[in-house]
Symmetry: C2
Subunit: 334 residues, 2 copies
């Protein structure tokens, strides 16, 4: 349903419609660059992922940031494709690491082919992303994306050791999600401003927006894992619990736990000895300590930070849609 | 044992001695950049690999190429560390893909920790390599290394599908080894010339040298897998056979096979149904068709190509040592 201005009420869809021509160029570039004439396994795996769609939120943020800053050159399209390639490469490797069977409601590549293909095709996409960004000729863009890539990998490794350790607190959790999610959001928006040669204050505003939006986005994701609805496609309630991942809701419940509750968390998360009924008991403990409500409040706080970051930028339709996206992310948990 | 000029007769060791100060700087940079204050698993894994040593041949080639072209700035050290990081990252991922248990005579990281750590720490090292090369500020260097990274990943994926397929011929084999080995050798020498702002003809000569040396090096490696001696540390005769990898010796034997032999190769490689005595029979077939001698001849051919590539460069001690390295690579199979 659209209102009189032609908007759907979903700001990311409205933004995609506003930038439809450029999004089509990004899609075409992604399809061209994910191919390989020498290794036919590569397009098989990448097509499986790319056809599954996904929201293409990260490339959209890059295009929007560049256009917001008045960019009229061609390279925001390269950067948007770069960001999506990095994202896709990390998904391929994450699914190997998590031993996942489903992604976006379809079997994962590691299940359809094997872990080997997921590891190596991920490497291929990462190197392709690197070629794309070199084509922009901007050393500053390369620096931002190289730093983001290192932060992402570091966050993923930290998650490996931290996620099953009851000593993991909110500050470690923030490091993990800044790495696994916010670093790429922040780079996606920052490089949009940089390629447009925007004033430093605008570049900083865009980076801070992406960082806060990414944090909010990931907290919502972790929240929904314990209160999933039909809007939460391709993921089931309790996946993180079964994978013994200490995300924000659990961290809050563990911090408030008495000795008996602590023993429960130790058994199910650290020792991994889960039995029938444990998820229900975990949900009871989350409710007892208002852990989900507190998690939602944190998501809303970061959404507000995102909006505040760009509130000083000149008013424009794109800026209003970016603000709308920050609202929309937390509307999923309203 | 050293001769009167202080040389050991092993040209890579002599070159390392000649460039000892810069190699120490490369080692220090590698140690500094492989660290991570946030994720302690990272230095654990990287220290395991870096302490195991290895020949550091690739960074040595970068330093030597830059010095050969008269470079006196600091960035060949960054590039040498970059090249070693890319190499180490691919080793970590290769060991996951090959399910290897040993590397350089020690247990592999995937065995010491797990596949997850190997995948993610590999990603981390790759992103660190990327940061290092950005610091050089040379877009041309970035372009060369981005292309090399894509060729490496493509070669690895191609190997996945080609290595157990009897249709794989020598031209596909060349694509695979250019990817898995020669691309990084070629980039290592080329960026040395580029950072030194050498004349184009010198840059091309260095790249061609690295390419041919890498090809020769890999053919020798594949040869030694069927005629291993004590000099071939950490690898056992027949590893490739047991892993059903169609390398050059087998490709030559398959090309000359009669129907009975073909059925044997199909069973042991394509179908993977190996029984006791199969490796001995494979060695008999290699001997029957002179496949090892022909493989060695190819290695010698590429060693000569490597020497020819740099024969037109001004005479210098470093050039003579690079020529010596090309000889030394094939001396392992003399």
């Amino acid at each position: 349903m659209k209102d009189e201005a032609g908007f759907t009420g979903k700001p990311h869809e409205d933004l995609a419609a506003l930038l439809a021509g450029e999004m089509a160029a990004v899609d075409a570039l992604i399809k061209a660059r994910m191919a390989s004439k020498n290794a036919p396994r590569i397009p098989e795996v990448t097509a499986h992922l790319v056809e599954a769609g996904g929201k293409r939120l990260r490339p959209l943020l890059t295009l929007a940031s560049a256009r917001l800053c008045g960019y009229d050159g061609p390279y925001h399209v390269h950067l948007a494709a770069t960001v999506e390639f990095i994202h896709t490469a990390t998904l391929l490797h994450d699914d190997v690491v998590d031993e996942s069977a489903q992604r976006r409601g379809r079997p994962t590549a590691n299940l359809m082919w094997d872990n080997k293909s997921s590891v190596l095709v991920g490497d291929y996409l990462f190197s392709r992303s690197f070629q794309l960004m070199v084509e922009t000729g901007s050393l500053r863009v390369l620096d931002i994306l190289a730093n983001a890539a290192a932060t992402i990998a570091e966050g993923e490794v930290l998650q490996l050791t931290a996620s099953q350790d009851l000593k993991t607190d909110e500050s470690i959790y923030m490091q993990v999600i800044r790495g696994k999610t916010a670093a790429l959001f922040a780079a996606a928006t920052e490089v949009g401003g940089v390629i447009a040669a925007a004033p430093e204050a605008h570049v900083t505003a865009l980076r801070d927006y992406g960082d806060a939006l990414g944090i909010s986005f990931q907290i919502v994701d972790d929240y929904l894992d314990y209160s999933g609805t039909s809007g939460n496609m391709g993921k089931n309630t309790g996946d993180d619990f079964r994978e013994r991942k200490l995300t924000l809701p659990l961290i809050k419940a563990v911090a408030a736990a008495d000795a008996t509750e602590r023993a429960f968390w130790k058994r199910v998360i650290e020792d991994g000895k889960q039995v029938a009924g444990d998820l229900d008991h975990a949900l009871e403990l989350l409710a007892r300590h208002d852990a989900l409500a507190a998690t939602r409040a944190d998501a809303v706080y970061w959404s507000m930070q995102a909006k505040a970051a760009i509130s000083g930028l000149p008013d424009s339709k794109i800026r209003r849609l970016l603000t709308g996206i920050a609202d929309y992310v937390v509307a999923r948990v309203a």
